[in-house]
Amino acid sequence: MQETEAVLNARREMEICNACRYCEGFCAVFPAVTLRREFSTGDLSYLANLCHGCRGCYYACQYAPPHEWGINVPRTLAEVRAETYAEYAWPQPLAKAFERNGVVVSVVVALSIALILLIAMAISAPGQFFAARQMTAGAFYSVIPLWAMQIVGTGSFGFSLFALWKGACNFWKDAGAKQSITIAAIAIAAWDAVTLKNLGGGGDGCNDNSEAFSKRRRHLHHAMAGGFMLCFAATTTGFIYHSFLGWEAPYAFTSLPVALGTIGGVLLTVGTVGLFAMKLVEDPMPVVRRLLGGDVAMLVLLAATAVTGLFLLAVRATGAMPIAMAIHLGFILALFMLLPYSKMVHGVYRSAALLRRAVERDMKPLGGE
């Protein structure tokens, strides 16, 4: 991690926090601060990714602006966090995607949809693209052949997984724990990541736009992440049905893949729309407005993926199916490709930071009584 202005400011703030320690009950960041006297760039990268942005410390801080020290931990760490995404990105030339992330996400989405539409239209027989469909086995593959879906899907997703893994390795080398990783630490970190324990602000949740606490953001994030995982489970189940059981899509409304996908899609829509609505009314002080474009673009992409999936389900027996499917697959392709180059990477680095915290959980705070 480089010594940027954001890093220098984060170090200044963490040193003040370390002499205060009033916020240690809020989340994992502050107990982690008390374990050290000096903060290397790697330590600051770790703390930045450990911060879930609940904002509890901002409203509780006696040194928050307009105090001359101007302590604003959620914003300061968000600035560093954004820099770490670019710092650890693989391959490095693509780190530029984080500079104007909202634009990048939007353009990739548009191009993906156009690409899939072109493939679909090129493949289908002349005049057949808008024709009414029968819900017979293999109907989807008459629009886009299975092999094409598989090549594009596994290719883009596989590349992204590899890039995320490289990024995680870069993070761990720079900002990971020095001690060895134990099974117990992995279990603790996984639990903390899945439950969003640190979005709890000490039990009553986050600050949305004032000193008042609410669990809204945590619940919406659960809906979004849970919905995402259900959709993923739907795809996996479909894959098993097709490859191992020989059952070809489309499946009945009551079948497992469709049920999982439907519930997942609804949850994903509720979560993303809710989180987007919260961004409209949030207090601008403890957040970085500059990063809003990328955040919102990702929420919109997720919401659009879910909504187009549900729409496809609704129209799958009509002539609108091919175009609905092409658009839906376009969004999914964009999502796959953007995993390592958008807000989505926060899941990887946050989990890695939680792992370091779990590894260091028995270290004793420095100083004090």
Binding site: I16, C20, C57, A60, D204, A212, L366, G367
Partner: protein, 466 residues
């Protein structure tokens, strides 16, 4: 927007813990309440903003406090720090009441946490607010708004006009413009005068220019002076204030908790002439930090320098300002603008006087001492010889003043003739001198504010609505 023309049942001057406790209690008792805070919203809450805990009596462990802390032990602690400068009846009433505030505080949204680090071992006696004093205030202000209490920020009380033992009107400035307000009862909860440097100068002379005021710059004692000028009885030594040792680089106001330094017991402390002047290891730091403010205030130019070596550096809380660091004592002295020859001589003399052989233990009085020095260091004395060397400049940091208005156990303000004022109550710092006339117990200011705030609110509401 509050209708400032109406006659409120209860008008509260102040916006800290005591004021909020009074306001919420009065409102819960059915009174209409107007609260006037002289600070802007961002700096609301007076010194409570910088607090962290409340000292509470308890006969058995509870959700936030370990073990037991019973009335007699609490009273003994208070008696010891005040040297008898207290009022036993009122103090014991406050102590007993402190055991019953938790449910009410929790209902107001206040949250507690188990004490963790950097807290001077207070887990048994003190309940810690999750997020500290500002988080507590946020909870109280949210509750106050929800209950329909009218709140004006940037509003300073200039005068509570007393006639025939009752406040008839209250002169204020609202965002800089003068107005007169009316209320059936008035509660003064607006702190001491430690941020009023001109007033402090009357007692301390130009030494105040070298004092650091730890808390809010808004506690200027305007209401305190106004009431005392109108025949309200005073209590507490007007010349005295609570002073601790702080990092000299702290801002003049509002540096809060972080500017404290815990290095003294593990250091050699010299004045600007390079001379030691007091036993750095007399007792554990929680029992000594408050006398060091006064000790430094008595040194030339009210400054001192704590010097330690690499052995001692990891033993105390990290400081908010980086230590001044050097490879030799002489270089360190130069960096702190002290006479290097003098400081080297002092440190050499100290090193030569250290009695070797004892095992070092920073967690208790370990008996490591010097012999033949004036003054000797009586605990944690180790040679200062392992580089790098670290130094901190120290100044007196003023927490609060003791001068108060006299009250009775119903929080009624007493006049010079001993009679209670008809409709004037007080709570918090402005009356703490009734109970805490000298010294300090960690978290006791918040206890007085909470207990008397609630009494004042209750009594004011009852009187206003009768």
């Amino acid at each position: 927007m509050p209708d400032r023309k109406q006659t409120y049942d209860v008008l509260i001057a102040g916006g800290g813990n005591a004021a909020l406790c009074a306001a919420i209690t009065a409102r819960q008792a059915g009174a209409s309440v107007l609260l006037l805070e002289s600070a802007p919203k961002a700096f609301r809450g007076g010194n409570s903003r910088h607090t962290r805990n409340l000292r509470a009596m308890h006969n058995a462990p509870n959700a936030v406090l370990t073990d037991a802390y019973k009335e007699d032990e609490y009273w003994d602690d208070l008696l010891r720090v005040t040297g008898g400068n207290t009022n036993e009846e009122m103090a014991r009433m406050t102590i007993r009441a402190s055991s019953g505030v938790f449910d009410w505080m929790k209902d107001c949204g206040v949250r507690f946490q188990p004490s963790l680090t950097g807290t001077l071992n207070l887990g048994r006696t003190n309940a810690f607010f999750l997020g500290g004093g500002k988080a507590l205030l946020n909870a109280y202000y949210l509750t106050a708004e929800k209950l329909g209490i009218d709140i004006l920020y940037d509003t300073e009380v200039i005068s509570m006009n007393i006639d025939d033992g009752s406040v008839r009107s209250v002169d204020i400035t609202y965002r800089g413009f003068p107005e007169t307000l009316y209320a059936r009862c008035v509660v003064a909860s607006c702190g001491g005068f430690q941020a009023n440097l001109e007033w402090m100068r009357e007692f301390w002379g130009d030494a105040v220019d070298n004092f650091v005021i730890r808390g809010t710059p808004y506690n200027r004692g305007r209401v305190l002076k106004n009431l005392l000028d109108q025949g309200v009885a005073a209590i507490g030594d007007p010349t005295q204030c609570h002073a601790v040792a702080l990092d000299a680089r702290a801002p003049k106001f509002d540096g809060g908790i972080t500017t404290r330094l815990d290095s003294v017991p593990y250091s050699v402390v010299v004045n600007k002439n390079g001379d030691r002047f007091y036993d750095e290891g007399e007792d554990v730091w929680p029992k000594r930090y408050a006398i060091w403010g006064r000790l430094i205030a008595q040194q030339p130019d009210q400054i001192a320098y704590s010097i330690c070596d690499a052995k001692a550096f990891p033993l105390f809380m990290p400081s908010v300002y980086p230590a001044i660091k050097a490879d030799s004592v002489g270089e360190l002295a130069l960096k702190m603008k002290l006479d290097p020859a003098k400081v080297i001589a002092t440190v050499d003399a100290y090193n030569a006087a250290v009695v070797p052989g004892q095992s070092f233990d920073n967690l208790k009085l370990d008996g490591n001492k010097t012999q033949g020095l004036t003054p000797n260091k009586t605990n944690w004395a180790r040679t200062v010889d392992k580089g790098p060397f670290y130094g901190y400049p120290l100044r007196p940091g003023i927490t609060f003043t003791y001068l108060s208005v006299k009250v009775n156990d119903k929080a009624q303000v007493l006049m010079d003739n001993g009679q209670p004022a008809g409709n004037l109550f007080a709570s918090g710092e402005i009356m703490s001198g009734n109970i805490l006339g000298k010294g300090y117990l960690a978290g006791f200011g918040m206890t007085i504010g909470t207990v008397f705030g609630r009494i004042a609110g209750q009594e004011a509401a009852r009187r206003a609505r009768n």
